[in-house]
Symmetry: D3
Subunit: 323 residues, 6 copies
């Protein structure tokens, strides 16, 4: 755990802490001396830093996306904190805790996981129960599920965001199915649990969220169908139609061809899963978007949704008020 | 109330009842004699009828879309009931009860209305409460709301379907908002109540559901904005921003330009309203579609949704099992 | 093997043969007698039939899509052969040979299969060779591959059409890769071999080509990824990146989201596979479309391609001239 | 009225005038001194300014979008005029005249208004005449109409641009209807007058053109329907169908769903209004676009229209040659 | 000239006239006798005919799309006139006048042509004047222009419809350019004259309007560019830029890629030409569409425009009231 | 021929050579001195240059897109070569050889041209042979064809790229047609030869590739139809249908309306030409894209194709390994 985070640095404070180098740009003065401008980040936010002395020497020792140990002095400049760097050197990624460098969910993964398991263990269908237990028993996968982000940018783009979104979706499903009859709740819960599970291998998230080659070339929809098939193969007499219906939920959950679903939702459960998945993501995204300008009721422009959002009264959502 | 409905007619039964003429086609035999083939409908379904005698005379007396009194004898032919008509004559629309001729919701309008009012009277916002009461006090409108269909064909296309859908949506909203914080429940409920209220003037539904000229040229989104403005004008000091947010829910609730929304949903409540409105309609539509073929797990093709649906186990939805 | 095919029936011939009932419609005369009009098909084409006697009795014994044994007499009527039926009765599907009822490729499956195996056994990559052999050793699959149609309607819609298209594509790949350097020929050949292999389970084709439930709900792209994974699992040390590249060929081969590819082609091999697959299908479809009208240089309208085609000089393609 | 405009500043001139701050960026020199670079605008154009002395102090006193009084000296630098600032301070918006800071139409609003009223008072339909007079008598609205811009960026984006466009459209309508028979000229003129009237509340235009919250959440189409309804309510016995036809012109005048029309034009007058509105806007926009590069026959790229335009012989349009 | 037209046939009248066979369908009675049902058309409309006697014999002698001489007796049946045919025989197309069988413009081609020439001879640009005269001097082309329809179905689908539309467009251009400055009127008039001139070779219109092979494979846009180039080549020193601007009008006049324009309109004249061409076609189409049902204010559904139109007061357009 | 290219400049080298000025930006220091930063390019690549002395004087003498003679000294700065300029002055474009400044194909134009002619002289169709010879005899055109780039940015964007692509396509056609029967090889070869020939006049490529006015307003599809027509007119008795089929190949070869084809491919040859043209361009583009980052298996983002590409093993394509 880092001792000092970017957001906590005070004017005139002597700083000695670890950061991730987000950008590194060279400048040159009229007299031909070079200096460096860095953007240093950790999970709390970012701080600008300038290297005026020995810029060329120090600059050779690290690159963008490296973790560095930085020593220097903070000064308030133009209303923003800036770091005047005395020394900076690269440190090995194995020596840092990812938790310090990526934003994470406001909720505790262990607690969310338990809640999720409680919901799923309430299912009646013995085959789906067995399938859920098959996933729970897979330590590597559960570990990744606890950490993975929900997305790169669109919604829940932070550590444990996938778990937070999945749990929220399961609760939402439980509420919604009560409003109707004739819906296979267990199937829908299982679809909700697994709809994004392929994301644990679609993304890398050790220092920044990025796509894996497999994520880019196959996508989480196809990847999770294969994960489910492998687990189902281990359960004797799993009904083929049940397996088919479950896989259909996965391949159709983006709801439309242009969003990468090779099939449209063709069961009432698939229609519901797509709708609630989309809704839960949008609510989270809208509530957590930055403002367009300080004090504005309008958010910044959301590229994936193609619009800004208006927030009449900025009631902080639950995840923020609890922290 | 009709004494005999199409669905109850038995083999060899003598029939004397009122029907709506759905289709009327002339045939001609080799010898130049004409006959009529009619499709007669009432709310229970349809029956084919043939007029072999005096076809030209009788045919002059009525047209498609007329109500007629028909006398004749039923015979089972090719496994389907058919009526051999002795006499048929037009009767005035004022002498029939619409309830006999249009399918209607499985739920009692009065009970649904009371449930809806109970939900809305639970709102905390005094201005929205006043607005709701303003609508409740409008007898003509409440009467139309109790009868209006939900749509011409897409979903809830039967009498009181609009009320059934609106009530289902309000209940769904109540369930969903509990899963999140920071949502204006009262605003959302009011948006749910009013999102389709313009349909009472968009459709005529005395004998068949059809568009009014105003419905075709303006649409229910614009029509209901005007209805709401009129009611709001009667409430002193109704906050302008609240009025704006409510109207925004109405104009954006189709969710996309291509579905006739002049604005995209730009508040979290507008996003939720569109999503749940769409979902409730789809669930009803999928569960009530006819099968593609007798015994098939696939429904007929739904033109608006562009696909057939697969129903693994045909659990009858609530509305059917209760009746 | 049937003794008499629809296309060979002569005027006044007494007919006693098996057909598939494509349509069955009831008519009724002025005097209330019913008759049946049937469209009877086999692989050679179709013939219209009328049942004037005992129409109700006989009609009860069979339905559309049944195989029937028909006895009657042919007469030339309005320039078209018509069958006046004396007797018709349903026969069990197990007693007919599918070959008699579905059109099939002009090429011998066994010969095509051998050619295909020769090409694939020429690959250098030992893992892809092993994978090909894994598929060749799967008797059930090879048997289905030999029979399956290429599509329901778009291209190669006849028995063994899948094999014909696959072989043509492999030959085309071999020709095209020679024009370029830097292309992984073995990977591309393997992608060509497997790109539609899921169709053997996507379709049923015992009496007419139709989709299976799995075909409709998952599609052949996803189904064949699972088939490939299963075969790869049996090959020790199959390189993960090679598996990934091969699966990418499968999931992207429709070339665009709107055609059901969850991923766009993102390797040069994937781009080539999509392009040549599409081209081979189109050439076959254009060359085999019926004329718009007898003697016209224009074909009938191709719904999937959205146009008619102009054939300046109607040179018969190879498959027709050889037979 | 300002005494000195940006476009008129000469080399070495001492400047003391008011400007709007369009951009304000901080720079820092090697020695840690800060300076400011400003873009100052008024309706005549823009000038770059640098604050080298007391940059931090002076910079605290104003922000982007503020009006400022600036004193300094102009110098020609790199062929462009630049202001070396001695003093700069914020002044209150109420002390400036918007006319000095926003570009405006080349035509006199009062004259255009009179011309517009003359055209509309030539209508024969007494109800539409009464409605026009109802609008003319609304001083606030007429005042806003005289000032409002035609759009934020697409066409007529300057003060009184809305009036200029509306008048041009009315004249165009009068010319076009003469080419046809069977068109309701009065209805079309009234639709032309009111088609964009909601823009007076859709935009703010005191110092820069921007959307109001209502403009963003409802849009001028819906807003002006409500304005028209209010005026119509004050006219006894206004024919309901006439009101409907007029409102249809408003809601459909963008011509397509994707441009925010909730209904397509469904009357011949609505088709004409959309077509001529679109054409008048495009002609103005093309004729007034800046060149791609000095002397080029090609304009800069027009984002909304998705192309550059070619101007064979750059004949100045009327509005420019008159000034 | 025919002596008797379909629209003029009276009850009980003995008919002996020429018609075009629009449809020809065979029926068969229970006793195996065949009869024919024909739809016979001429420019005045259509009449249904039945051949009860010698149907097979007579039917062999002609086909759909043939011209026939028909003798028989008319009877009013079910409110519609029907012809009971005694004799019918094919006659050669050379023996009929196309004017009798295709609807034609209400305006006299010669008069329209003169009006068109007068407008074009008013141009000032000597090169465009020379080009216009080049076209006027081409007798074959002028002859075709006088007869050609405006389209197959969309607008002006009748003989001389192309000339009617072209003339109406030229008049409209003259009216519209007066509203603006800076527009090259002569260029625009010439573009209006030639924008559809390729249709004279795109269609055949001897008995029904259909596409030629060249029309289908190249389209009138490309065809008329070639026609214009040929005429320009005969004019010494025709300015290359003027030729370019004129051809640009032709290739861009459909206004969008999806309507077959290989280039978007990129000059102000091209924008105007596309807009007015589209508008003139739509006005004609809307005013001449049949009603949805007798007495309805709504037209039938227009497939190309994707909607029905509302006609508040059915004022007959000029072309109808004059005849 | 230049003596020294950007890519060959060494640390500390004294430079005196000609470059094209790609960018020219002014900077200013705290003390008000100005300096220039230039990006200088030639066909080998680019080098950054700084003018610290007499920046204003020297800067007045040249602009972006000018050719300049530059004298100065190279120094390695931040791992990149930089030029400290002593003198820079504009030189006339006529004094430089375009070959020095635009990248060009790795293949010799003369050799490619000969190969192309050999292929086309192998055609059997005497009219197409005559047409090919007509083009070969047009020295100006052949000269331009030898130099023209294949595109501005999408594929083959370098000198002689058009010829390289055309030759590659002809070879590909020869390979592909062998896989099928019933294809008019000569027609297809001629279509391949001429499909982009209009690009010689669509682009200027003396110092950078750009569109001509005619290229922008008509496009190469329309331009080349006119070129072909002119050549065909010189060949006696050229069959009209052959001319039509050839022109159809040209106007439809972009394959879809949205890519500027006014007609869809409607012959089997047109379908093949579009497919192979598209494929050849894509293969070249994918194989020659720069990497996203040094060492990455992913290419940079290709804007026209809307994606990055994955290159498993970076086998250099033929054109690179040969040089």
């Amino acid at each position: 755990m880092k001792s000092l985070f970017a957001a906590d640095i005070q004017d005139n404070q002597l700083v000695d802490s670890m950061f991730l180098v987000a950008t590194k740009t060279h400048g040159v003065t009229k007299t031909g001396n070079s200096y460096l401008t860095l953007k240093l980040i950790d999970k709390s936010g970012e701080i600008e830093a300038r290297v005026w002395e020995r810029a060329e020497d120090l600059g050779r020792g690290f690159d963008k996306n490296d973790f560095v140990r930085v020593r220097g002095q903070a000064t308030l400049y133009q209303g923003r904190m800036q770091l005047r760097v005395q020394d900076v050197m690269r440190i090995d990624g194995s020596r840092v805790s990812p938790d310090d460098f990526l934003p994470k969910s406001a909720f505790e993964p262990a607690i969310m996981l338990e809640e999720l398991q409680t919901i799923l263990r309430g299912m009646k269908n013995p085959f789906l129960l067995a399938l859920a237990e098959g996933f729970f028993a897979d330590d590597e996968l559960i570990d990744l599920l606890s950490q993975a982000p929900g997305a790169k940018t669109i919604h829940h783009p932070y550590l444990s965001g996938l778990l937070e979104h999945t749990l929220s979706l399961l609760k939402l499903i439980l509420r919604v199915v009560d409003n109707y009859s004739g819906i296979d709740t267990d199937l829908l819960l299982m679809g909700g649990f697994l709809h994004d599970i392929g994301k644990v291998y679609e993304f890398t998230f050790d220092r920044a969220v990025d796509y894996t080659d497999a994520g880019q070339l196959l996508g989480h929809l196809v990847m999770e169908v294969e994960m489910v098939t492998k687990k189902i193969d281990a359960i004797p007499e799993f009904p083929p139609e049940l397996a088919l219906l479950l896989k259909h939920l996965l391949v159709s959950h983006h709801g439309a061809y242009e969003f990468g679903s090779p099939k449209l939702p063709q069961t009432v459960e698939a229609v519901i899963l797509h709708s609630l998945d989309d809704l839960d993501g949008k609510i989270q995204a809208i509530q957590n978007m930055p403002e367009k300008a300080p004090g504005s009721k309008w958010t910044a422009f959301h590229r994936a949704y193609g619009r800004s959002f208006f927030r009449a009264t900025r009631t902080k959502p639950e995840s923020e008020t609890e922290s």
